[in-house]
Symmetry: C2
Subunit: 399 residues, 2 copies
């Protein structure tokens, strides 16, 4: 097998509910320029391929946006492609970039993506647009919404395993707390479990502070073969090399009803993790993973995820989370960035910014208050819909 | 270099302006079932990966459609991804599938895609939606439309090279005539150059019969390593093997104005072709390509394409086309399927069905009236917008 790709540089904008200072092309350009500066690559045309990551034409009232972004950042006439998969978009973009590099089609590829999800929410149609992520023909007509589906899943988890609202409130408190140490975070908060429990009910048992954010923002990652990185990026030669060692993807039925009665967890995530672990040679993920960014679209989803990813047994997620196993000083710190709950989640950028947090953790370059000392292997967990497409990407520091 | 992927099986629906007998999921399923039958693969779960190809969330009033399609055809929990790039979507999907296979992420991948473009046109919003393919911020506001941009390009070609309306009318006549021998074609017609010239002006010099179709339809192609194909597809072992030997992609500015005064041709297409020819070891494309499907979104675009692809010199496209060089009995038959003008163009299926025509030509399995005898190497040319993203894929019969 050929050597696996490396992370050459990363760039990200500040995340906010309303980045009124620019359009999506401006935000993506901001992230790309930050990425080039980080990698110390001065000519974008030295990079051989582009790859655009965004969720929906709806959010930008624009089709073929990939071509606009590619043009705007100055990469024509070089090749590009757009990858999408709902909430998993950014992670699928990186997975596909991995494939492009490993196939030999290119030796370097710039993955750039973002979304204007915060802004669109200020118009009346935003919730209608997000509702289109449910099956329009079979779920919308019965009034199904995402928060409702997630609520039904965690309710089933509570019934089957005794998981409590206070346990998943712990996730909301911790991730928003971690966000205080991340300068790009949209919603750093210093709150208590009581604050979460007493916040406005949205779809019970989920309350306002259990729900993640709608964000404007963009992110970019430059991936390459190690040879290309050594030749083109002065910065790469000064950092411990971080390799993109594995990628796994799994899928599940679109409709929650089709999974009944197995709705406590995300089968697609288990499938994705198994594939990624096999590629990375991981047999004991809790021991062999040092830091992870998990898809906490709702607080309880993180509890489900630590089970699906094999960090703890099914049913133990709630108590392990509440005991602090995944806190900054725990056995396996997760969502050190603040996660979707605290950092924010512009969809096309989410999987990318998760990978950025992991790369920076492995480089040892994040704020010391959230830095995981000696981290050598990190994981991102990202999914679409209600776990309909799940992607697990794994990165390793190899020095 | 590892052995290149092979085409294991193909499937396509009938194309029509209004497939009111089903939704997009039904059409894609119809194409996928035809593909499985063609490959003689009985269990879809033997295929290791899916890849969805469609252009816009707008056309189906649905986000995360890839997950719905993947679920509907029965491929969960296997991995999938969606690829998009405007009119080049289907060709980029195949290119990405090539990369997935060559990277070792999977040994077989089912590329399925389609669009309901014909149907949506019956609603008032369809043209508004397609208009969103232009740059909303910078072109829409000045009333820019695709037909207008294409008209400006061919007008420049006429001025610079003396290309005539009768020359590109030849394309409209020939491709619609070829469609008579293709059972899936949407608009087979037996017309004359006079018919084209006297049809309703749309954006001069383009008239109604110079314009391609809006279509409902779907297509699927199963690609795999040769080893996988030999093991899993009885039919593969009975056919001459067709390999997917090369893929090239190029890009250009989003806005036509940014290319001025170089607007007679498609620079992205030249860039894509150069990369694909280098991969395939082609130095004389007119001699070394036996059959090609070109992106005839407007009749004159085929004239521009035969130049950009290096079949003839710049400026010679019009006269060579009119002389019959690319007719069924010419030196290099193109658009034997009928092309976008005669066969139809449901966007997400277009690049796929082009590849299907080429594979079937190389297998020697199309209607004898359009079969190119002894064809051993074929090419597809597909592009987004006004040549903003161009993809050239090349297939070879190797027996």
């Amino acid at each position: 097998m050929s050597p696996v790709p490396v992370v050459v540089g990363v760039g990200v904008t500040g995340f906010a509910a309303d980045r009124f200072d620019g359009t999506i092309r401006d935000l993506v350009t901001e992230a790309v320029l930050a990425c080039l500066a980080d990698a110390e690559v001065t000519d974008i045309r030295a990079i051989q391929h582009g790859l655009a990551s965004y969720e929906s034409d709806h959010f930008n009232r624009q089709m073929t946006l990939a071509a606009i972004l590619h043009d705007h950042i100055g990469m024509t006439p070089l090749p590009t492609v757009r990858v999408e998969g709902g909430g998993a978009t950014g992670a699928l973009a990186l997975r596909t970039a991995w494939a492009y590099l490993q196939s030999g089609l290119c030796e370097s590829i710039l993955v750039y993506g973002g979304e204007m999800n915060g802004r669109s929410v200020s118009s009346q149609t935003a919730n209608q647009l997000f509702a289109l992520s449910a099956d329009f023909d079979w779920e919308m007509m019965i009034g199904g919404t995402y928060t409702g589906f997630y609520a039904a899943m965690i309710r089933a988890h509570m019934r089957q395993y005794g998981t409590t609202e206070a346990q998943f409130a712990h996730v909301a408190v911790r991730n928003r707390g971690n966000a205080r140490f991340n300068p790009i975070a949209q919603k750093p908060m210093d709150i208590t479990i009581a604050d979460v429990l007493s916040s406005q009910p949205i779809a019970e048992p989920y309350k306002l502070l259990d729900c993640s954010l709608l964000s404007d923002g963009a992110a970019a990652v430059l991936l390459a073969t190690e040879d290309w990185a050594r030749t083109h990026s002065p910065k790469f030669n000064q950092r411990p090399p971080v390799h993109f060692v594995a990628t796994g993807c799994g899928t599940d039925t679109m409709r929650l009803g089709d999974r009944y009665p197995h709705i406590t967890n995300f089968r697609a995530k288990r499938a994705a993790a198994e594939r990624a672990y096999a590629m990375a040679g991981i047999t004991d993920p809790l021991d062999q993973i040092d830091v992870a960014e998990l898809y906490d679209s709702y607080s309880g989803v993180e509890i489900q995820a630590v089970e699906d990813l094999g960090f703890v047994a099914y049913g133990e997620g709630g108590s392990r989370v509440a005991e602090g196993m995944f806190d900054l000083d725990g056995a396996l710190p997760v969502n050190t960035s603040g996660g979707l709950l605290g950092r924010g989640a512009p969809v096309g950028a989410t999987g990318i910014v998760q990978a950025i947090e992991i790369a920076q953790q492995l480089w040892g370059e994040v704020d010391s208050r959230r830095q995981v000392r000696g981290a050598r292997r990190g994981l991102t967990d990202t999914h679409a819909g209600i776990g309909t497409i799940a992607v697990v990407n794994i990165f390793e520091r190899r020095d």
